[in-house]
Symmetry: C2
Subunit: 235 residues, 2 copies
C-alpha cells in the first residue's frame, strides 16, 4: 500500500501554535520533509524541533536563492522524485509548512507534482494573516467587510486600485518593495491606519505603526495590515 | 490584579484542529465564555467539549436571532458587564471562538467593549478559510495571486466587480444568498471553477462542485471558493 503525503501546517512561528492534528501526524509518520535555505537551518523545522524524537528519516529540500517569480522547478522535481520513492515503499511523509500549506505556501509546488499519483492530505494551520491580526490586537475583518490579500509585488497602480475598493487589506511579501508600498500608502493618506508586522509570534517579532518603519527593506515574513476606512474595525 | 480576557481561536470544527496554546490557556483559566443560540447547544463549546474537565465557571452568551446587520448589542453589553466582573475579581476568562477570533468572528464585539479597560489577548486559530481549501484539496492562493474574501451579503454588482478584479475568491456568509450568488457566478461563466463547502472539518461536512448544489439556502458556515482564472492554481 502506498504511503500518504501530508502537507502539515505548523503555524506562523510560535511552536505552541501547532494543532493537535499536525502533532499527531508528525509523531506517526516515518519521513519528515521540509524546505531550507541553500545553507543553514530550516526555519520550519525549528518550529517543531521540540516535538521531534529522532525517529524520522529526514528529507531536507534545499532551495537556491532565486526570484520568487521563477521558483526552482528542478529542486521541486528532484524532491518529488525523492518523496515519491518513500510513498511508493509505503512510508508516510510529513512535509512541514509554515503557517497554512495552501495560503501562499510553497507546498503547492509539491502538491502540484504529487497529487495526481499519490494520496495527499493537507492539514490546515494557523496562518500568518491571522497571527498578525492577533499580534496587533486589531480585528482583520468583520461583518460585511471585504478583505483582500495583496502581494507587494503588484505594480503600484494595481495595488492602489485594489486598496481603494475594499475595507481591509493585508499586503504580503513586502520585502524589498517596502519603500515603494510605504510611499503609496502615504500618498493615499492611509498611513495612520497602516501597521507593520515582522515575524509574527516568533521570538524576533516586530510590530510598528507603518509611519515608524524606517527600514529600506523588510524580511519575507512581514506584512502590512491596513483598514482602508481607517478606524472602521472599532465597534 | 485584574484577570485577562483570552479570545481563543479553537479552529473550524474538528476538535483536533485546536492549537496547543489554546488548549493550555483553556486548562488554566477559571471562567469559560461562549456564544450559543437562543435555545440549544453551543457549537463552539462542543468543539472543545472533550477537553473540559468541569473546573470552569461557564458563561453562556445566548444570542437571539437577529439580522446580521444589527447584532444584538444589548446581549453583548450584558455579557461585557458579566465578564468584566470576573476580570475585576482577578479571574482569567477564556472566550471560545470558532475558527479565528479576528477573521469575521463575533469576538470583535466583545473585544470592542473590553480592550480599553481590561487586558485582552487573542490566540489565533485555524480559520474556516484555510480549512475549506484543505478540505477541497486545492490551493487557496499562490505566488502573486490576489485573494479576496467577499461576504455574500454584498450586492451582485459589487460582488461581480470584485470577482473580476482578483485571482482567487472566497465568498463567505452564503446562507440565503445562495441562489443569487450561484446565478451570478453562472452568468460570469465561472461555475466550472467554483466549489461549495459546508461545515468544513465537522462531521456534517459537505463538499460539492457549485454546479451540483441544488439547495435554495445554505448554512451560515458555508463558503464558495473559486479561482477567477479557472484552473490557475494548478502548477
Amino acid at each position: 500500500m502506498k504511503g500518504t503525503l501530508y502537507g502539515l501546517g505548523v503555524g506562523p512561528g510560535d511552536p505552541e501554535l501547532i494543532t493537535l492534528k499536525a502533532l499527531r501526524i508528525l509523531e506517526r509518520t516515518s519521513v519528515l520533509a521540509y524546505p531550507a535555505p541553500e545553507e543553514g537551518e530550516s526555519l520550519v523545522r525549528s518550529i517543531v524541533a521540540d516535538h521531534l524524537d529522532g525517529h524520522h528519516e529526514e528529507v531536507c529540500i534545499r532551495m537556491p536563492m532565486v526570484s520568487a517569480r521563477f521558483p526552482a522547478q528542478d529542486v521541486y522535481d528532484r524532491a518529488a522524485a525523492d518523496l515519491g520513492r518513500h510513498l511508493d515503499a509505503g512510508r508516510d511523509v510529513a512535509m512541514l509548512c509554515e503557517g497554512d500549506p495552501f495560503f501562499y505556501g510553497s507546498f503547492m509546488y509539491m502538491f502540484g507534482r504529487m497529487a495526481e499519483h499519490h494520496p495527499v492530505e493537507v492539514v490546515p494551520g494557523v496562518s500568518s494573516l491571522m497571527a498578525c491580526a492577533a499580534t496587533l490586537g486589531a480585528p482583520l475583518a468583520a461583518r460585511n467587510d471585504v478583505l483582500s490579500v495583496l502581494p507587494a509585488t503588484l505594480a503600484s497602480e494595481a495595488l492602489e486600485r485594489r486598496i481603494r475598493d475594499v475595507d481591509a487589506v493585508a499586503i504580503i511579501k513586502v520585502g524589498r518593495h517596502l519603500p515603494r508600498v510605504r510611499t503609496l500608502i502615504e500618498a493615499m493618506g492611509l498611513t495612520g491606519s497602516a501597521r507593520y508586522v515582522e515575524h509574527a509570534t516568533m521570538a524576533s517579532e516586530r510590530i510598528l505603526p507603518l509611519a515608524e518603519v524606517a527600514d529600506d527593506t523588510a524580511p519575507y515574513f512581514s506584512m502590512i495590515l491596513l483598514h482602508a476606512r481607517g478606524d472602521a474595525w472599532k465597534v
